[in-house]
Amino acid sequence: MIGLIRSLGRWGLNTFERLGRGHLFLVQILAGVPGLFLRFSLVVQQLYSVGVLSVLIIAISGLFVGMVLSLQGYYVLVDFGAEESLGVMVSLSLVRELGPVVTGLLFAGRAGSALTAEIGLMKSTEQLSGMEMMAVDPIRRVISPRFLAGFISMPLLAAMFSAVGIIGAFMVGHGLLGVDDGAFWSQMQVKTDWYDDILNGVIKSVVFGFVVTWIALYEGYDAIPTSEGVGRATTRTVVHSAFAILGLDFVLTALMFGED
């Protein structure tokens, strides 16, 4: 009985300790960000590996998500004679929810796991300690550029996802199902609001980008420096990011779209 309580206490202390270290780590990262504007080439390199290499999976997923939404939405809407509203349905669901959330999940899987594995391996091969020996701050040199790159990439990727998804929905809706193209676009434009829908979606994707990159870098930096430890850290990145995205999505939706 005592043992059970003790292990519960140990688990709690460990969790809070990790949480605390994570926040201290975030403060250190953010302190390194202003210096990056003097050496922006570091960020450009990371933008390539975090952002550019994720474009393909984001674009293809976006296209198919849009196409499926269009197809499924059509069969429901056509019963009410409201198939012209297909554009509204697709654009609102993509811009408000699916764009940021699915991009966030894919981003965690594609870029987040790679970041954790990279940092974890750097740690286990003692490259990070090597840098410290040379009086180079590994957080400023290695971590902060990756953080900024993830933070910049995520909203751009989410915007691409939504845009490509809407194009995919239009291709299926107009080309395959024969929805009138004028009605498709005009209804969408009437009902989709720049501030309430699109900018709130962008805010969501910025928040997700921040959280996913933070989790990925922290898990890598905090990984047990063995091959097994790095593997576990990578798994944790994907799992924790998914939880964080889905949980935060609910909170953000309740805050943003709650009033009306």
Partner: protein, 156 residues
């Protein structure tokens, strides 16, 4: 060096594509194109019942969009709905006896205000009141009235 150059080019293309996507969402998908710097001027109309009219509902004249609903409040004295309409500044020649009615787009569509020009020589200015209004048609009331008159007719 060559490697670095190609990295920079692809990153540049990535950022440009992201911004282009956002731009497409703004211009092609959303109603941002409607929001110009045109602040227009405001006229006020009081309705007995506004039905499902909302802030930002369209205001049209002969089917052409000439403004939008800026604000809806209850007039505490008359218990009518006080609707502030923002009219685009290029439509500056609405006669003072213009009438405003609330219509529904389609059977179940959203509600909008339709303006109909009168014959006066003077034009509505910022803050003026639109005197002639017609309230929204509430479907339940119409059906209720219809059933009521039908029942009365049967008794006779």
């Amino acid at each position: 060096m060559l490697q670095k150059k190609s990295t920079e080019i692809t990153v540049g293309m990535f950022v440009a594509a992201g911004i282009a996507a956002l731009f497409m969402l703004a211009m092609k998908v959303s109603n941002l194109a409607d929001f110009t710097d045109d602040t227009g001027y405001e006229v006020i109309a009081e309705f007995e019942n506004i039905g499902g009219l909302k802030v930002r509902s369209p205001v049209t004249m002969a089917g052409v969009r000439v403004g939008r609903v800026a604000d809806i409040t209850l007039n505490p004295e008359s218990y009518n709905a006080k609707v502030t309409i923002n009219v685009y500044s290029n439509v500056d020649n609405l006669p003072t006896d213009t009438s405003a009615s609330i219509f529904t787009a389609g059977l179940l569509g959203e509600q909008y205000i339709g303006l109909e020009a009168g014959a006066e020589e003077e034009y509505l200015q910022d803050g003026d009141l639109v005197e002639l209004t017609q309230p929204a048609l509430v479907l339940e009331q119409v059906i209720g009235q219809f059933l009521f008159s039908k029942a009365e007719g049967d008794e006779e």
